[in-house]
Symmetry: C2
Subunit: 448 residues, 2 copies
Amino acid sequence: MRRPGLPPLRLALLLAALLLTGAGCAVQRADAPLFLPAQDAGAYHGLPGDARLMSAEIQAVAWSDFLLRHFDPWNRTQPAYPADKVFWGLTDFAGKRLYGENLRPRDPAWLDAMADASRVAEYPSLNRRAIAVANTAMRVLPTGKPAFDDPRQAGEGFPFDYLQNSLVLAGTPLYATHESADRAWVLVESRFAYGWVRSADIAWVDDDFAGAFQTGAYAAVVRDGVSLADKDGVFRFKGFIGTLLPIAPAASKGAPGSDLTVMVPARDDRGRAVVKYARVSQGDAQPAPLAPTPDNFAALANRMLGEPYGWGGLYTDRDCSATTMDLMAAFGVFLPRNSSQQAKLGWVEPLDGEDGPAKKARLLKEGVPFLTLVRKPGHIMLYIGSNDGQPVVLQTIWGLKTRSGGKEGRRIIGRTVISTLEPGENLRDLARPDGVLLYSVRSFNTLP
Amino acid sequence: MRRPGLPPLRLALLLAALLLTGAGCAVQRADAPLFLPAQDAGAYHGLPGDARLMSAEIQAVAWSDFLLRHFDPWNRTQPAYPADKVFWGLTDFAGKRLYGENLRPRDPAWLDAMADASRVAEYPSLNRRAIAVANTAMRVLPTGKPAFDDPRQAGEGFPFDYLQNSLVLAGTPLYATHESADRAWVLVESRFAYGWVRSADIAWVDDDFAGAFQTGAYAAVVRDGVSLADKDGVFRFKGFIGTLLPIAPAASKGAPGSDLTVMVPARDDRGRAVVKYARVSQGDAQPAPLAPTPDNFAALANRMLGEPYGWGGLYTDRDCSATTMDLMAAFGVFLPRNSSQQAKLGWVEPLDGEDGPAKKARLLKEGVPFLTLVRKPGHIMLYIGSNDGQPVVLQTIWGLKTRSGGKEGRRIIGRTVISTLEPGENLRDLARPDGVLLYSVRSFNTLP
């Protein structure tokens, strides 16, 4: 039997229901544009472009502190972290449902296998200096395979692999404390974080190498993806903003403005670190630290803009705290890897209990462009000035929380952008108030 | 104004609409169990466990052919493939919307940058022998970053990175024909496929190395994830079913049943290949080729069962054709990497126009357990016998097509399993008939 057509009212109800329930499925939702201010990090600070944001004295102290921390892993003779810290994943993930690379729940026995691979009872089993010879992943457990939360939930599944701790840039000094049962992974401590790295991506450092590699003069890579090949033409690794490499002693006397020759670590056939030399054009690397001027900060920030979001440094991309850490590193300012730890440094201004307008007013009044970090739980942004009376930030952000028909979703931004503290306010389905960044901002802190 | 409650009929319509539109969201669908026969590859062949499935003569010919193909990249002096083949991705992806690691559409300029990185006009720029010193990804374009199709579509998005061509197992001889602009990637040809690999994961092979590495006696790794460390204790790489390594000449005279010493390739600090030696226990590797008996096939297949699906070898996991290729390699039988190419080898039986029962009857009558491949477009399975009159196959499969409320989905299997040709027939939402594997089976072919 052919069904008669629906009367108009019922049809309208049906359509309304379709719209409501369909909102959870991204395919059925037309995307409204996301409005962002001009993507130029130099357009908002309102200061002379060559003004020093830190005095030379303060920057010198910061840089000295940075270098101490950077090379400190080579001065250790025992782990800086106890077993319950370095193996936190084994306890934290116990009893939780983890999803594998096939988007299916992992068997709980998988975590047992990880515990075996971690040899917890034998920690620490190594006491060796090392260095990263590749841009490599630092992992929570000794595996390259992922552990996702439920992929059907908004903001979960790929790329949110909870085993991905950080990217470790090539050239980073490491202290190796432990080895996995299969020897494929080494537990290391670095300036900014600890975790498991692939043993093939590090090399063992002896006194000669450690001495040679601490030349006292360092170059900061100032562009992402700079290809570094040694003088024999062998490709070594790519440099990124955040990469620091020693300037070769002979070359450091070169004329200002000329190309730089830097030391790059390589691995010999027995896994030992050897020094190689690579020439880098002046536009790709500069003597560190860079002068802390708005022009310099903006130039580097602009090179990060639009780059894809990388959870924990996946695919050598950056997440929120990697962006701030890498940018500050070029200026000689140490930041830890974790956003909540970053938010504790410098002069901290709590904003609990303040409403949105008050938060904005205080940030505009007290924030220093390029030196003030703005924190909400699990996220960090860099204050870079104001636009039409609104604070403007640089941030690497996955997305904005949306809600429609009672179902939570994400409006993916997925890259490094310049925005106000209320991006997406024009979006009909932005979760309000919890999807508005400003609503969750808890504090700001000014470096150093 | 408060709206009055809906009258019952309209409520029913609304509920029906909710059900219809909600069916596309996996979270709202209860999972019925997927029934699979006993996961034991030895349970279905009905033959003596030690029966030879290939005569010694035929296997010897196959093995000789395999070795010729395996080492052939070292005999090449010019590329075996023209530019339009090796750069197919640049033309094939042009005009298509690709999604990046942030699940957002890639800017079309991204493909232009890939074309620049590929230096098409300068192809070929290298003429060098090489070898994989790590288990490494072979890519369609010179980048480790992914290109997904629309992540909102069923069976698209992670892990279906269309730049992932294959895993290249450590120890694989390669012919290098070209280098990327950033020198981070080298275009190589191997026994089974061609594409871009990370330059840091290969080493250059000279006459000495090539001579030493072709000992004439080879070991097949017979377990996945065998850790191979050299005699200095340096971890080299993991071996997998499919890994073949030369047996060290001195050690090859060792007593039968004892541990094996194999050659493992390593990279020196100038990128050159050097021979190292690793001891492997007899249970982890055996002299190749293995005797082609049901017991041996089943033993290796059983070690693959349950392992996660890996599109193009992502995460060193296998997809459908990698499973068949790697399993056959241990028995000395060459298979190319692509499922449709695999389906052309041996004695091919087309099944076009046959109905399901006829396909099954012919497979049961003419198929040889462990030597017959079963093909549907884009997929390959290995026939391993029968169960209650039903053909049984071993396959690595992502999932089954489902349809509910007009919306297509996937019931994820995501691993290597033993199944009939109609897995999921008990599922209410299995797409019928197109979600039934048997429906799309087009041919089977018997090796060698």
